[in-house]
């Protein structure tokens, strides 16, 4: 147990930042209008204000409460999100199957264990499945392979 609840302190700070972003952007750049005839900025400014308010409450109550540090996992988010990024990068220039192999290969590293043969089988099966379901079944315009150069 720590002296303060750092999860809520961090959460409160994040909310304040996001709320300020929404609120100030609305106040500076969008027309507020009047209460009777509201412009595009009025409602966003209110939402921003509420977010800041909730952030402040959370921050203060977290300060006066004992709690824990937030526990972050490093490898799982890194590899899972990199897998998604790999797909986003590959799908346009290289086509469906390289993108599927990419997301499967990179994201499976999150297990922190490489099993080359099962991985190859899984990637192969999912490539076929993706091609059958999305290209043949649903007829989406996704070429299985492409070459950008």
């Amino acid at each position: 147990m720590r002296a303060h609840d750092y999860k809520d302190i961090l959460g409160g700070l994040l909310l304040i930042v996001v709320g300020l972003f929404f609120g100030l952007q609305a106040l500076w750049n969008y027309d507020l209008g009047t209460m009777r005839r509201m412009g595009p900025g009025m409602f966003p400014a209110m939402v921003g204000g509420l977010l800041v308010g909730f952030g402040v409450i959370l921050l203060i109550s977290g300060w006066f409460r004992r709690g824990e540090w937030p526990v972050w996992r490093i490898w799982s988010p890194l590899f899972v999100l990199s897998g998604v990024a790999t797909f986003a990068v590959l799908i346009g220039p290289f086509g469906l199957i390289p993108a599927v192999v990419g997301v499967v290969a990179v994201s499976s590293l999150a297990e922190l264990r490489v099993r080359p043969v099962p991985l190859a089988i899984l990637a192969g099966m999912l490539s076929v499945l993706a091609w059958v379901v999305f290209r043949l079944g649903l007829g989406l315009a996704m070429p299985p392979f492409a070459w950008p150069f």
């Binding site: 999860k7 609305a26 996992r73 799982s76 797909f87």
Partner: protein, 502 residues
């Protein structure tokens, strides 16, 4: 009679071949996803959400709804056999279901919960058929102020009633409302929070948001945590599934009580099937002459919650279909699927789109019958699924998410948004923020803003005049009561926690 005409119309739609097919796909996938712990309903529905672009709206809704009530059927399997709830709605079923399995009566428990689910589902569907048209007729007189107040009530209740800190729930609702603001303002055509990006003019993609927030972040937190396990298939032969006469006679009243409790809690915003199941269990224990049997494998302890959660799955459609105000994130997604197809939800839905409304409701029945067949003779197949290791499952899930996001507009931008929302979802999980209210706020936010601005215009800019109409006043009083109750209960909880530390 008009009622029977509607029934006929509904069956006509629901029994069309392609609707039958999508209904089957929905309940099949729902069972699949419900059986496997670590893939939630929201993740599942958002994974399949892109498909609905390519379907007729009725078929799309039939499929998505099938996933929703199918998971609750499937979820009891893992609860009973592994003591791990397949979905949160089946958590209570563990209490008596797992002891039954350990006594070698797992097959009986699975059989009985399927019957209870079917009964609860049927009861809930009847409620939807009876009450939705009545409520919708009443709601026709609602104006912008009433809708604004109703939506606010839905958001406040959904974010504060469920477990966790009410402040965090409310903060997530308004974060969702804020994210919903991105895009072109519908009344003045001013681009808000787009920063010159043309892709953002239509707003952030609901699909990318749901898949990132629920699918990707769930994968991140489950990797290397969810383990597959082995089960004795002998106890699951059909012979071993038949209940004794005593089981059957003990089951009648819990079925009715569970279904009634579930139907009631299903219609309220914020109290989904999980709370309904818990309430039914608590009621059953209190009503029982032998409460000490609960927790040791009492049949009543699985019948009541399973009837209750399935009834509430169905009655959750009452506010969604008759008012256009969803009570949970899942219902918000279904509403989103309607709006993508240009169907405006609200009290006019039943009269304007009778094929959709009655067809959907009748498909519930067909879906429930399919689930009965899927879950009793085919239980062995589902049980085998529990042995699939997660390291094979999650790359497949991610692949479907990526392709799904990409398929919406055939652009990598949506995949990058999935990544962004996946990261956001992970941060929110670590900091104990609930993600479901965010989705609800995101869907309801734009509608709320529109109603708010219209209501203020009608009330000449006077907030009190706007809120002083009789229906809005009542709703506002309920909102204040919900807020006061949740503030009081969280204060009580924190005091108890502080005392426990000393």
């Amino acid at each position: 009679m008009e009622f029977f005409g509607n029934l006929q119309l509904g069956f006509g739609v629901a029994l069309a071949w392609d609707n039958l097919f999508y209904c089957f796909v929905g309940v099949f996938l729902g069972t699949l996803i419900g059986v496997i712990p670590g893939v939630g309903v929201l993740a599942a529905i958002s994974m399949l959400f892109p498909l609905t672009y390519y379907l007729e709206p009725t078929a799309a809704l039939i499929m998505l709804a099938g996933i929703w009530y199918g998971t609750t059927y499937g979820g009891s399997t893992a609860s009973i056999l592994l003591n791990i709830p397949g979905t949160p709605a089946n958590a209570v079923t563990c209490l008596d279901g797992y002891p039954m399995a350990r006594q070698g009566r797992g097959g009986v428990a699975l059989f009985l919960t399927t019957i209870a689910s079917f009964f609860g589902g049927t009861f809930g569907i009847l409620m939807v058929m009876l009450f939705s048209p009545v409520i919708a007729g009443y709601a026709l007189s609602f104006g912008a102020a009433e809708y604004f107040a109703l939506m606010l009530l839905g958001l406040v209740a959904a974010s504060t009633i469920s477990a966790g800190s009410p402040i965090k729930g409310l903060a997530m609702v308004f974060l969702g409302v804020g994210l919903g603001l991105v895009g072109m303002d519908s009344q003045t055509a001013v681009a808000r929070y787009t920063f010159g990006q043309i892709e953002l003019l239509d707003g952030l993609s609901l699909i990318a948001l749901a898949m990132g927030l629920f699918g990707v972040s769930e994968v991140i937190t489950s990797v290397r945590r969810v383990r597959a396990s082995d089960i004795d298939p002998e106890s699951l032969r059909f012979r071993a599934m038949l209940p004794t006469r005593e089981d059957a006679s003990r089951s009648w009243l819990p079925l009715f009580r569970g279904a009634s409790v579930g139907s009631f809690f299903g219609t309220l915003p914020g109290t989904g099937p999980a709370i309904a199941a818990f309430m039914a269990y608590a009621l059953e224990k209190r009503a029982s002459a032998t409460p000490e049997r609960f927790g040791t494998g009492a049949v009543e302890g699985i019948m009541a919650p399973e009837a209750s959660n399935n009834a509430s799955d169905q009655t959750a459609f009452i506010p969604t279909l008759s008012l256009g105000v969803p009570g949970s994130a899942t219902m918000a997604l279904l509403l989103g699927a309607m709006m993508i197809h240009g169907i405006s939800p609200g009290p006019n839905l039943i009269t304007n789109e009778p094929e959709l409304f009655w067809g959907l409701i009748m498909s519930f029945w067909i879906g429930n019958v399919m689930l009965l067949i899927l879950n009793i003779p085919m239980i062995g197949l589902w049980v085998r699924l529990l042995t699939i290791p997660y390291h094979i499952l999650y790359p497949s899930v991610l692949m479907f998410i990526c392709i799904g996001a990409y398929s919406v507009s055939l652009s990598g931008v949506d995949v990058w948004f999935v990544l962004f929302f996946g990261a956001l979802g992970y941060v929110l999980r670590v900091l104990d923020f609930p993600a479901a209210p965010l989705l609800l706020g995101f869907v309801l936010g734009p509608m709320m803003e529109e109603h708010f601005r219209r209501a203020m215009l009608l009330a000449r800019g006077d907030v009190f005049a706007m809120l002083s109409r009789p229906i809005t006043m009542t709703i506002c009083a309920v909102i204040v009561a919900v807020l006061a109750w949740s503030a009081w209960s969280s204060w009580k909880r924190s005091r108890a926690a502080a005392r426990a530390q000393v």
